[in-house]
Symmetry: C2
Subunit: 298 residues, 2 copies
């Protein structure tokens, strides 16, 4: 099944806007840092589904936020995501040669430049968020930084990546795999939705339903990832598949089985949509995103 | 020559406070991330001169800032410094086995954990700064984040590190080496002093003298580093020396010669102190720090 026309348009708009913003942010300087910027561009431009930026836009739209502010927040979220992919691909980590059908950054530019390119995107994300151009109210800027820093650090994405490394040595149960994934991919998906709510000045206690939505979408997204790792097409994915089983890692699919994993995914998507029941048609894009998670083939 | 009694006391107090703060921030969790935290502690606790935290404290004291706020800012600055050391030591970068007389993080915990430990300290720095506990005014928090993110990213520390990598292949002149060092080590030293001024609510146009002080101290610090790389004692330094010449890198010393480099250092320290002429005895600690840069032997 294809995305709904509204979602297809939003995906295309998001891809275009994120590419344009990275292009402007990462203009190659005429000095010895040129390769550093080329490496960041290689990883950041023309790549990926842009799910996190799309979630920022879709949530910001709920609250009629300024869409230039949302664009800056979206690029910060995606910069963190891209930095994590560069570092995850390194030989000492997942040791991947291909990503999105292209050589990984360290394959193309060398390991040292790849490490620094990741570090630079990491810092740039916080530079963008804390810049007055992102939002006139410093309270909003500081909250956006706190939201993203927590999601990226040891209690979020990087902590989840550490658990993932340990997963090759340990034998995790379903509770631990769920926690691992909630940190490794869920935290940044949650941060994207929360960032939209922060821009909309929704106080923390008013974000419960959106957090529930993000948690369920994030988990469903990861289960589909596990299913695609087993059943997917490497050419379509643009990267190596079937690595989890090879590494002896427990996943949702190894612990639940293929059909029950697929069924859990459907339940999570229904549940994600149910969290949005207090919103009207302005949340249709968020609903479409949840449904689309089930249908993606790469 | 030893540090002045006031500076000796400030160095000891800073070391104690930074260790205590890292100890609390990096409590080892009872889960698969334990090694990640142990790796961060290994790098962060009981190490280094704590120059950047000391500069935060000394500048914050000029403006009678709350010293708990300054402590949180100091730990964020030092977290960025420590993350950069972890990544710089990696095999793909400087490939160092020893740091501060101990095995480097990747030697002790493996490369993957070292990469993630650096990434986590990077994120934690921004989490600490943007937390309301750091300062009640969100404007101050957002400005602290912007100050540090700029200093850490491609226009600052990480960009300088990239230039340093290129220095092995190119033959840089004095202007380029000065710019490289102003980015690689100078930017974070500048950010430490500016952070103190931000806490003191000094507007950007009122920070000119402090910025001048920081620029000169940072440059003097780096020239002394180059001199120690040639003349220093490896046992005292706790790390490998004489690497620049081996790598064919131009430094202040290779470009200027030993005695002229030492002379330039003295001039920079005089100049740094001259920048403080509008301040009274409340800036004596900053003056002592500038003088001490000349006298350090490791």
């Amino acid at each position: 099944m294809s995305p709904s026309p509204a979602l297809a348009a939003a995906l295309a708009d998001t891809a275009r806007e994120i590419d344009a913003r990275f292009d402007a942010l990462l203009a190659v300087p005429d000095d010895p840092r040129a390769d550093l910027y080329r490496a960041m561009r290689h990883a950041a431009i023309d790549g990926g589904k842009r799910l996190r930026p799309l979630l920022v836009f879709a949530t910001a739209r709920l609250f009629n936020c300024d869409m230039n502010c949302a664009g800056r927040v979206a690029i910060a979220l995606e910069a963190i995501h891209v930095y994590s992919l560069i570092h995850d691909d390194l030989p000492a980590m997942d040791n991947d040669d291909m990503r999105r059908g292209r050589p990984t950054v360290h394959k193309q530019f060398g390991e040292a430049t790849a490490i620094l390119a990741g570090d630079c995107l990491h810092a740039l994300a916080f530079e963008v968020l804390s810049d007055p151009a992102t939002h006139p109210d410093p309270f909003v800027r500081a909250e956006l930084v706190l939201d993203l820093a927590r999601a990226a650090g040891p209690a979020g994405m990087a902590g989840g990546q550490m658990m993932d490394l340990e997963a090759e040595r340990a034998s995790f149960d379903l509770t631990t795999v769920t926690r691992l994934q909630a940190m490794k991919t869920g935290a940044l998906i949650m941060a994207a939705v929360e960032a939209g709510a922060i821009l909309g000045r929704v106080p923390p206690e008013g974000r419960t339903h959106l957090r529930g939505y993000a948690r369920d979408v994030g988990l469903a997204f990861q289960i589909v990832d596990d299913l695609l790792d087993i059943e997917g097409d490497e050419a379509l994915a643009g990267k190596k598949l079937r690595k989890d089983a090879g590494a002896g890692k427990e996943t949702f699919v190894s612990l639940l089985g293929v059909e029950p994993a697929r069924e859990r995914c459907r339940l999570l998507v229904d549940q994600a949509i149910a969290h949005l029941r207090h919103y009207g048609p302005e949340a249709d894009l968020l609903r479409d995103i949840a449904r689309f998670v089930l249908q993606r083939d790469h």
